[in-house]
Symmetry: C2
Subunit: 272 residues, 2 copies
């Protein structure tokens, strides 16, 4: 077992990974640059480890030492224990779930590799909101998408907020960056997938009227909440697709729209 190390000084340099967690702009730059991300709470930490992310270190309050004993025992990195007050001083917020882990990122896979075996993938363009990225990953994992491909300006799926909203689902669906954008969409088409661009445009085909041939192997492409897909992304798609809308409503939020689209391409035509 890794011996636990009690920390009494909030300036202890061994806690450097955990500082200023509420400064989104700072962490957004720091975490990818330093090759780390934060897992928060028992469930998320366990899921990150199961998904094979190496543990750099763990920071627990005393209350959580028992709950996390088996994780601590198996841990490769140091396990720090501190009071809730000290943890709050270091991180900048009250950590309700009493357990934080600094995890090592893994190199992102090559999109072509992910696409080779994939039947259904999600492609996100410029989704730069961590909550939305998390919600979309949760839907993609739950509804059986094989991979998620991100335009270069999408937010980080491993940012703390994304991971939390996704309930750890960001660990279970493989993802990659697709660059240059949108030229790299050619890679998707070359892999044999039909690129379906989700848009509210009238001329788009309703999701439930897609020809079955489009669904054999396909990529569902979604843009950011509000602006939606850019002109160049729409132009690069094989087909424009819309969710049927009633009662004068013009859209769903992007998490719900993604879930509906993932369900439809995965299961919507299966039964009859």
């Amino acid at each position: 077992m890794t011996a636990t190390v009690r920390i009494e000084d909030p300036a202890d340099p061994r806690l450097a990974d955990y500082t200023d967690l509420t400064d989104v702009e700072l962490r957004r730059r720091r975490e990818p640059a330093e090759g780390l991300f934060m897992a928060e709470g028992e469930k998320v930490i366990r899921r990150a480890l199961e998904a094979g992310y190496p543990l750099r270190s763990m920071l627990l309050t005393d209350r959580w030492l028992d709950v996390m004993a088996d994780v601590a025992e198996a841990a490769d990195g140091p396990v720090y224990v501190a009071s809730p007050e000290l943890v709050e001083q270091v991180t900048g917020y009250h950590v309700h779930r009493g357990a934080l882990a600094s995890m090592q990122r893994k190199p992102l896979p090559d999109p072509a590799g992910l696409l080779a075996g994939a039947r259904r993938v999600a492609i996100l363009e410029a989704v730069n909101d961590h909550t939305n990225i998390g919600a979309i990953f949760r839907g993609a994992a739950a509804l059986g998408m094989d991979a998620v491909l991100l335009s270069p300006d999408c937010a980080d799926p491993l940012y703390r907020r994304s991971v939390k909203v996704a309930m750890g689902a960001v660990f279970s669906v493989p993802y990659a960056r697709l660059a240059p954008w949108p030229r790299a969409l050619e890679t998707v088409r070359e892999a044999g997938l039909t690129v379906l661009a989700m848009t509210p445009a009238e001329e788009a085909v309703p999701l439930h009227e897609l020809p079955p041939a489009d669904l054999e192997r396909c990529a569902v492409m979604l843009g950011a909440e509000g602006p939606g897909l850019t002109r160049k992304a729409l132009d690069a798609a094989d087909r424009l697709v819309r969710i049927p809308m009633s009662h004068g409503v013009d859209s769903l939020n992007v998490g719900a729209a993604a879930a509906v689209a993932f369900y439809a391409v995965g299961y919507g035509h299966a039964a009859h």
Copy 2:
């Protein structure tokens, strides 16, 4: 045109409808008791009026007087104008959208009346979170549900937060309270609808494998995020139904789950 009335005193009793808007507990009791609800922002106010809710009064900052001129002109109730600072003093928060309206509630329809002509309805049990109520209504409206029925302990769809999250969709789908709960589910069955209870339970039928007969006229019943439907609601259903899940994920958030279920019963079996 209704003359606008300039208000200079935050204690002016004519603004009584607009006080303490940030006190959720207070407003949650006060608004139904006084038969009013708040519409916030141009879009939502216009939608509420289009849906036939009478205007009690409107409160605008100067900047919004022009934008809302046609609404003010047609208004039955008084239109108050005040500085952003005064509006903030009265309401308790900075009203970004600069326009608030106090609307009169309408009597809720009888469930049996709504059910008579309905092909697809949503039933919610104990969804007591305003954000979730709003998200579910947005999905229900967008995806063509004919009505929403609420157990007595559901949150108020006309509460400001619900309306905002629903983007006003709470005005476009008729809804009613279903009481006593769950006995009143009999009304739904007597109206000829199949009651489908959404649950993650293993023994439930996957949504995409439902027999078409279940979908001719049906009610999709959902519980609160977390606990889900109660035992007695599950027992009262005709069929247990689950969303197929992959990658070890156990659930979607309730807004996304609702949207997927509404899409599936509305469109999932339509094409082939």
